[in-house]
């Protein structure tokens, strides 16, 4: 087990290094942040002085090594735009991103999985066709439009929910539903597809022929095997949700990491971009590790550890 864990850790290290190198070079290729940091009438000398002070005149590999060395010591530098430690900004926003991602994932799974199962079991029925049409609709609907519509209906017209911001459970409902809808659609289609495949297998026929109730056949025998692909996709989607919800965050003024990193890119806030990318990469890798561990629980035939 230790060997496996060590192997995974090693993989994680070089994945993180690779991501940090790629993101470092790309953000530096986007241009010079010093121009944005000084007023319009700053002289050429002032620009050069600041560039020198921030180390932007050093060769790029030197800048990267400096960043990597500091990152190893837990120092991610100060945001050029906000002028406070980059990690502080991320830690302020991360709980909001985790909250939104978790809520969207929960809504999506709670709604989509039963729909997917029922659609598979009652294939060809009106319910099946209706839910797949709904799934297509959910996948196709732009987040931006959906978000605005939800605000117009539930906040402006009905006055049931706050328009934007974060603070109470009520603030969480609309953004997580808006985000969860496309996930719902994806999970419903996936669940249906996998369930259809599993339900056609021999062991299911055997279970039915033994006289087991259909409910037990589906939930206990079939669904467990459908979980593996579902868990895989859910794990990947969770990682994407953490950094990729900038549209929802913008519409609902949700103080998450997605909007923070997009603004940082536009502002060429190198330290903040690099810190966010690293943190999200670590979380993504951790989530995938958890997913891999879950496989062992879901399917005892899967084991990463050598037999003694």
């Amino acid at each position: 087990m230790l060997q496996y864990l060590f192997k995974r850790l090693w993989h994680t290290v070089y994945v993180i290094i690779g991501i940090s190198v790629i993101s470092f070079f790309f953000i530096h290729l986007s241009g010079d942040p010093v121009m944005l940091m000084l007023p319009g009438d700053a002289s050429h000398q002032e620009i050069e002085d600041l560039r020198q002070q921030l180390g932007f005149n050093d060769p790029i590999y030197v800048q990267y090594l400096r960043f990597a060395w500091q990152a190893l010591r837990g120092e991610f530098g100060q945001s050029l735009y906000y002028k406070i430690p980059a990690m502080q900004l991320i830690l302020e926003r991360l709980p909001a991103s985790l909250e939104l991602a978790a809520a969207a994932m929960l809504i999506a799974l709670v709604v989509a999985v039963p729909i997917g199962i029922i659609s598979a079991v009652r294939r060809g029925s009106l319910l099946d066709m209706g839910s797949m049409f709904g799934a297509l609709f959910g996948l196709s609907m732009p987040h931006f439009w959906l978000g605005i519509m939800l605000i117009m209906i539930f906040s402006v017209r009905l006055g049931w929910l706050p328009t934007s911001g974060r603070g109470t459970l009520a603030h969480l409902i609309m953004p997580s539903v808006a985000l969860g809808l496309s996930l719902m659609a994806m999970f419903a289609r996936l669940t249906r597809s996998v369930m259809l495949e599993v339900l056609s297998l021999d062991y299911i026929r055997t279970a039915r022929s033994k006289g087991l109730k259909e409910r037990i056949v589906v939930s206990k025998h079939a669904f467990k095997n459908a979980l593996i692909p579902l868990v895989t996709v859910a794990g990947m989607q969770f990682g994407f949700l953490l950094g990729g919800t900038v549209i929802i965050e913008t519409v609902f003024a949700w103080p998450g990491v997605g909007r923070l990193v997009v603004q940082a890119i536009f502002n060429r806030d190198y330290p903040l971009v690099q810190a966010v990318v690293l943190v999200l990469a670590v979380i993504f890798v951790a989530v995938n590790f958890i997913v891999d561990m879950l496989y062992m629980y879901l399917d005892p035939q899967i084991s990463y550890f050598e037999d003694k």
Binding site: L36, K83, S164, A170, A253, R268
Partner: protein, 498 residues
């Protein structure tokens, strides 16, 4: 569905709705929603509009600038001109900072030195560059000198020299001060939950009138539809960033009204160093080629104010003798032919994608120019790239904007004096007049100088002059607040409507 599931779900919904905030804030609380959250709360560390808006509620300056570019007393109680270069200013004795430190001449000297400190990189330092020395005379009196007579001096001090507490800053440092400031304004910072809200509370020892609202909350919502929804539901009582096509919705709602604030003045800068734009006939041809009236009608509901020259018609010093370049594509073609381009010219027009309604404006302008024989290739750039290319002198034509401040020196000097920027145009006569304009103390005489500058630039056409689009704030019906031309949300002036 099983009973327990139903009740669990129902309970969940009730819990969620119970947590929903009251649709309308308490009557002693004012919620203001801007497009973006401040990046910090130190006026000397940011020049971003949304940041400065919050700061002006926390910090006070020596003077309160007025809409006609004059000033009223603030921390300064009285002042006199000792000579052409020196003001003697006496502070009021009852002003204190939020932590109890006195607002005295030593604090003013500290603030002045800090504003000019190289390490701080104060973005407003250039606006105070006319001042050369500040000397403390006694606890509440000081003198401040300029190199030459400087007419907008007090106005500039009123905006760009916030008076800050020396002891507190020396204890906490600049970085902490930017997130946890102490000022001497009518509101003090209670808490800042980054990404969510900034909560200010009225400072009970403020020397001036107590603000009408005890609590002032600034929130940010980048999406305009969300901000407008917040205004209509009562979650916010004042909002900024309302595009023209959304204004009627607010007016028709019966729940809020619009109040004018800053004017946004887009313009097309022309690279006068690069052929064929080094020929004034080509530049004038560009001006004749743009149908500003049509653009105003189509994009701004007729609310934009068409500009003749570079000085906004709302700013003193705009020449009364000028009429805006009319839309005349035939005249434009004739000028192109005269300049040796009978078949027209090619041009690249750059614009920054973050500006409001910019794509529609750029496309309309390009279409207009095309009819006059100026074939335009549009170049949209995101903010950083646009600015970098601007400073690198890579644009041929470019759209940028300024705000039409009441004081002409505030933008004319920065935009046209070659000491400030000469990336695309340089005119020694204009330089001389701009230097002269800021040294004349008599307003009528100053106006004549700026009128001359306006006329010179109109003829020389280093820009294609466009229009001023008055921005507005949306204000809930139960709040009495009039926007100001500086565009800052200074909520000390807001009060409940009776």
């Amino acid at each position: 569905m099983k009973k327990w599931s139903f009740f669990t779900l129902a309970g969940f919904i009730c819990l969620a709705l119970a947590g929903a905030p009251a649709a309308v804030a308490a009557s002693d609380t004012l919620v203001v929603m801007q497009e973006a959250e401040p990046v910090g709360l130190d006026l000397m560390q940011s020049s971003i509009q949304t940041t400065m808006s919050v700061c002006y509620n926390i910090h006070d300056t020596l003077f309160h600038p007025q809409e006609d570019a004059s000033v009223l007393p603030a921390l300064a109680e009285k002042w006199e001109k000792i000579d052409d270069l020196t003001w003697k200013i006496t502070l009021r004795k009852d002003a204190v900072f939020h932590n109890g430190e006195p607002v005295n001449a030593a604090a003013v000297k500290f603030s002045y030195d800090r504003a000019n400190n190289d390490a701080l990189k104060n973005p407003h330092r250039g606006k105070l560059s006319a001042f050369t020395e500040l000397k403390v005379i006694d606890d509440y009196t000081f003198t401040i000198k300029t190199e030459q007579p400087y007419a907008p001096g007090l106005y500039m001090l009123g905006y760009y020299l916030p008076i800050v507490p020396p002891k507190y800053i020396q204890e906490v440092g600049d970085s902490k001060y930017n997130t946890d400031p102490i000022g001497s304004g009518p509101y003090r910072l209670k808490k800042w939950v980054r990404g969510e809200e900034i909560v200010l509370e009225a400072f009970d020892k403020y020397y001036g009138p107590q603000p009408a609202y005890k609590n002032l909350i600034f929130k940010a919502s980048p999406e305009e539809a969300s901000r407008i929804a917040a205004l209509l539901t009562g979650e916010a009582q004042v909002i900024s960033g309302i595009p023209v096509h959304q204004r009627k919705k607010i007016q028709d709602s019966g729940k809020a009204y619009l109040t004018p604030q800053m004017g946004v003045m887009p313009y097309i800068g022309i690279n006068t160093y690069e052929a064929p734009f080094d020929d004034v006939r080509i530049r004038q041809a560009i001006n004749y080629a743009i149908d500003k009236e049509l653009i105003n009608k189509a994009l701004f509901d007729g609310q934009a104010i068409i500009c003749a020259g570079p000085i906004s018609p709302r700013t003193f010093g705009a020449s009364p003798n000028l009429k805006p370049y009319p839309y005349d594509p035939d005249k434009s073609r004739a000028l192109l032919k005269e300049a040796g381009h009978p078949d027209g010219i090619q041009a690249r027009l750059a614009y920054p994608t973050y500006m409001s309604q910019i794509q529609e404006q750029a496309e309309a302008i390009a279409a207009n120019m095309g009819k006059a024989g100026i074939n335009v290739t549009l170049e949209p750039f995101e903010r950083a790239v646009m600015w970098e290319r601007y400073k690198g002198k890579k644009h041929q034509l470019y759209i940028y904007w300024w705000d039409d401040a009441p004081e002409p020196d505030r933008y004319m000097y920065s935009l046209f004096n070659s000491k400030s920027r000469d990336y695309y145009y340089k005119n020694p006569t204009v330089d001389e007049l701009l230097d002269k304009g800021r040294t004349i103390m008599d307003r009528t005489e100053r106006a004549k100088v700026y009128a001359r500058i306006d006329e010179l630039l109109y003829q020389d056409a280093p820009w294609a002059f466009l229009y001023v689009v008055p921005e507005v704030f949306g204000v809930a019906n139960d709040v009495d607040y009039q926007g100001r031309r500086d565009g800052f949300l200074n909520m000390r002036y807001a009060k409940p409507k009776m």
